[in-house]
């Protein structure tokens, strides 16, 4: 009872402190506590003190009201601080346990803080911090779980995806409840990621949540739920329903999920869709589709549409492109057969122009001409990569558009001996303009890439996103063999990059050309000159490199990419030249020394103390 009086008095004091202490003088609400507190004070003296203090406030002068009110407030708070409830009555149950795969907390604060900041703030440079931490296993700390969960909603989608795909799954199902605690069915992409992650961590346990999300979720969350439910055979009817949803994103998600299932209802659905006008959303699903009747139906439709295009129906160009989209990355014999058939008509196909009405009305992305289709066709056949497909490309090389030259060139390299390749393509060397120059640029880039360790930079754009294909390209570059006459032709035409790429030992004309280029005021691609001299085993290559570095750093304000490439060659110099290289460090501008010394490090084969 008395404690309640204290609490009530504290509330009144709070009110008066907010309103202003002069109002406390004569305040009747406060005054009414004096008598009961005084009575209680007969047993517990502190209540009498409070009663006295209230009396001083309400009966005091306005001038002293602030001090009096603070005296009272201090006294009341001191009492209340001793009355804080610390326990919890009732039955105790075990604390639930969701152990994660990591229980370490030995990461120093200095390492942890920048990581947490990168996960929870905004701004550039964070992705690299997180990626490198992920690679060196720095996320093995319990205290990073919550910040990583927060990062699922990061504005930078690559960062959020990295966290969802690489970092959080490693903690195991123990984090599921933490993810669920702030999961919002109506949320956007962040919550779609949460749902997919929860499903990945516990597919059976999250099934009901996925069904609820499908019912009541936002479009993003629904799409994620469809992807999850698509992994459960018994939930396919729910996914099938979504294949007819009004929302295109949901439809696409459903088709993507269904494509991996070989069931009659899936066949029926896809076959119907192939006849419809929404082929564009089938491209994704078709990449994982294994249903033969559906593929056959698409090829039938393809033949029909292609026939119309060849007959001059330009309105079918876009549909034909969409069918090609659906067939992309597939290597089935039927698909190859269909594409070869189409390539056999490439001359007619290339002549089909965009209809005038389409040029005005169609969206820019859907404007496709016959020539574009031909190029697409060549790319797809090249990706299939069978000897038959490559031969077919080469057979049509004269009539194919210039845009298809990268595949023609690569098909030749894969099929013909080096001498035949030279005979066929050497007339391109020295071409100065037009399609001839474009073709020469392509083969020149390719030759340079074969000599450059980081060949990926020049990797053709045929299928940059397809890793397997990319590996094939690197392999092709490594295996490429060049007819000896290419180098003479390049020197004669003054095509310096080609000379750098092909220069070989015991070729005096090439060496003379390289030294001449290195002595120029502003040598073109100086790092390639060094690369070529190293390949030619030129004994004074160190001197040439140091001259080039001196030339490059002489007036340079910053450490630029070209200088970095030059320094990259230092490690390949003769170790015997190390004293010369060390001595050069003293002449370098201070801002370049660190990088220069770093570049020298691999040459120091002995330990510092030895």
């Amino acid at each position: 009872m008395s404690l309640a009086l204290i609490e009530e008095s504290a509330k009144e004091v709070r009110r008066l402190a907010i309103a202003g202490s002069p109002l406390a003088v004569g305040d009747f609400r406060l005054k009414k506590f004096i008598a009961p507190l005084a009575a209680a004070g007969e047993k517990v003296p502190v209540f009498a003190q409070v009663a006295k203090s209230i009396g001083e406030v309400v009966n005091g002068q306005e001038a002293d009201s602030a001090a009096n009110l603070l005296n009272l407030s201090t006294l009341l708070n001191a009492i209340l601080y001793t009355q804080g409830q610390s326990g919890a009555p009732g039955d105790v149950r075990e604390l639930e346990t969701f152990p994660t795969t990591c229980t370490s907390t030995r990461t120093p604060a200095r390492v942890l803080k920048p990581l947490v900041e990168a996960l929870t703030s905004t701004g550039g440079g964070r992705f690299e911090v997180i990626k490198s931490a992920c690679e060196r296993g720095a996320f093995n700390d319990l205290r990073l779980i919550d910040p990583a969960i927060r990062a699922l909603g990061d504005n930078y989608p690559e960062l959020a995806d990295l966290v969802a795909e690489k970092i959080l799954p490693a903690y195991g199902p123990g984090i599921l409840l933490r993810i669920k605690a702030t999961f919002d069915l109506k949320g956007k992409r962040e919550h779609a990621r949460r749902l997919q992650l929860m499903h990945q961590l516990d597919p059976a346990g999250t099934l009901e949540l996925c069904k609820t999300a499908l019912e009541n979720g936002s479009p993003e969350v629904k799409a994620a739920a469809i992807a999850c439910l698509g992994q459960h055979e018994d939930c396919l009817p729910l996914v099938l329903e979504q294949a007819k949803a009004k929302n295109k994103t949901l439809r696409a998600a459903a088709l993507e999920a269904l494509a991996v299932h070989d069931r009659p209802e899936v066949t029926k659905l896809f076959t119907e869709l192939i006849q419809g006008n929404t082929l564009d959303i089938l491209a994704g699903p078709f990449r994982s589709l294994r249903n033969q009747p559906v593929l056959n139906a698409l090829l039938e439709e393809g033949k029909r549409v292609f026939g119309l295009v060849i007959a001059g129906d330009s309105e079918q160009l876009s549909r034909c492109w969409e069918i090609f989209d659906c067939l992309a990355y597939r290597k089935d014999p039927e698909v190859e057969e269909f594409l070869l058939h189409c390539l056999s008509k490439s001359e007619a196909l290339s002549k089909v122009k965009i209809g005038k009405n389409l040029m005005v009305t169609a969206a820019r992305s859907s404007i496709v001409a016959g020539e574009d289709l031909t190029e697409r066709l060549v790319v797809m056949l090249y990706q299939i990569g069978t000897p038959k497909a490559l031969e077919a490309i080469l057979a049509k090389r004269e009539s194919l558009p210039t845009g298809a030259f990268p595949q023609v060139w690569r098909s030749a390299l894969r099929t013909w001996p080096p001498a035949k390749v030279f005979d066929e393509f050497s007339p391109l060397v020295g071409q100065k303009k037009g399609p001839g120059r474009q073709k020469f640029d392509e083969l020149n880039r390719f030759m340079a890439a074969t000599q450059w360790e980081q060949g990926w930079r020049f990797a053709p754009a045929v299928a940059a996103d397809l890793q397997a294909q990319h590996r094939d390209e690197v392999q092709l570059m490594k295996q490429a063999a060049w007819d000896g006459r290419w180098l003479d032709a390049a020197i004669k035409a003054g095509e310096s990059v080609m000379v750098y790429s092909l220069a070989r030992p015991d070729h005096p004309a090439a060496l003379k050309y390289l030294l001449g280029q290195s002595a120029a005021d502003k040598p073109l691609e100086p790092h390639l000159i060094i690369s070529a001299l190293l390949r030619c085993r030129y004994p004074q290559v160190t001197d040439v490199l140091l001259k080039l570095i001196a030339k490059k750093t002489g007036a340079a304000k910053y450490f630029d990419y070209e200088l970095q490439l030059l320094l990259g060659h230092v490690q390949h110099l003769p170790a015997a030249d190390l004293p010369k290289l060390d001595a050069f460090a003293a002449k370098l501008d201070e801002k370049f020394v660190d990088k220069y010394l770093e570049a020298l490090a691999p040459l120091r084969v002995t330990t510092p103390t030895n």
Partner: protein, 483 residues
Amino acid sequence: MQIDEAYVDSQAPNAAAIKNARGVVLKKKLVGLFRSADGSLLFGDCKGSGADNYRPSADFSDATKPVYRCTCPSHQFPCKHSLALMYAYAQGAKFVEQEVPADISEKRAKVQQRVEKKKEEADKPHKVNTSALKKKIQTQLEGLALLETLINDLVRAGLGTLNAKSARQVEEQAKQLGNAYLPGAQNALHALTGLFYRSQISTEDELKTSERERVYNAALDQLNRLHSLCKQGRKYLNNRLEDAELKPETETDIAAWLGHAWQLRELKDAGLVQAGVEMLQLAFSAHDDWTRKEFVETGAWLNLSTGAVQLTRNYRPYHAARHIREDDSCFHVVICPELCIYPGNLNPRVRWEANEPRPVTPADHQRALGFAKTDLRAVIKDVKAQLKSPLGDRHPLAFVKYRALGRVGDDVILEDQSGERLVLADDGHDGEPATLPLLSMLPKAVHHDQAMLVRFHHDLDTQKLRAKPLSLVTATDLIRLTY
């Protein structure tokens, strides 16, 4: 001297120095690695941006006070070259035995001279300029009068009238407190005014009505503290004015509240020193105290001699943050020849001039567990006794042994052997992350019969005393929940 990478990390002034030093090793810029015959000196040659190599060294002739030297122009100590030297040593690089270089021998001799001179001076009685001290105390009393006027004006006008603009105006007026040698009082006032605006200056500086309602209780509590500070401070200063020979008070922390910066010598003179102490860090946290305009790093340590939970605080004002060494988590037992203890209550601040690290062993965990308080009721009583003092720390720490962690309704509780319970809750103190959810992610074994470091907080709105888990100690591990 035992040097591992964690030790080198702890010696670095900041995270960038660690990164750069490791880079120096990786880039093989250390071109000569040497050690003295007795192993007390590591030195070497390091390639730098100049024509001549730098000569970094790490001198452990007094292992508790290592001296780092380098010929590089860096203002940071140890610089990246000295750190790199130690990383190379910790990583097992081969150090060739060599004579101690003449220049370092000379410097060692000078250091020895300085130490002896310092010792001589320490033994001399400290003279106090009484007239200057009286003048200072008089100025402080005037400052307190100003503070009292400011808070009385605020209370008269009512907290309802305090907004972002007027709060900043009060801060402007409070600058005079700094001139009156009352930086502690000035910080306390900033803690009040800082409740009424946001940390970042923006167009949305003003608090919303609902936010204002939430800060009134805290604001009134802070006003009470300031009011008490004025009263107790005036009494203390008047006492000192009457007797200028009187030393700063050590029974309470009123001197620190007024802003007295305790010198280690003063603490030693006052007998607030403990010899040969081993300290184990139980928790570490760092936060940006924008009302003080300082970065604050706090370490919670268990004194392995007395079992007291004591605090280290490293204050780095924004304007000098780069030049002050940033504290970090410590994973060693720190051996302090002399531990200076500030006046205070449950968790006094501590400092040491010199220390030597050693690895933590299972025996240390056992020792720590032995110091954990088993009687929760007594702990809570002590905490409340501290909280009721207007100038007492509002967030006392305690290291308690528990029988079980469990759940009652929605509350997570800690229960001692006698069945006494304490509700655990996060407090959002200093923007710290929540730690309560982490308990469920720990192995089930730690939910029973272990010890926990908790930080108490009394919620004035709900009148509940809660505790936030900071770390757990088991027989084999120390699980840290904050950073």
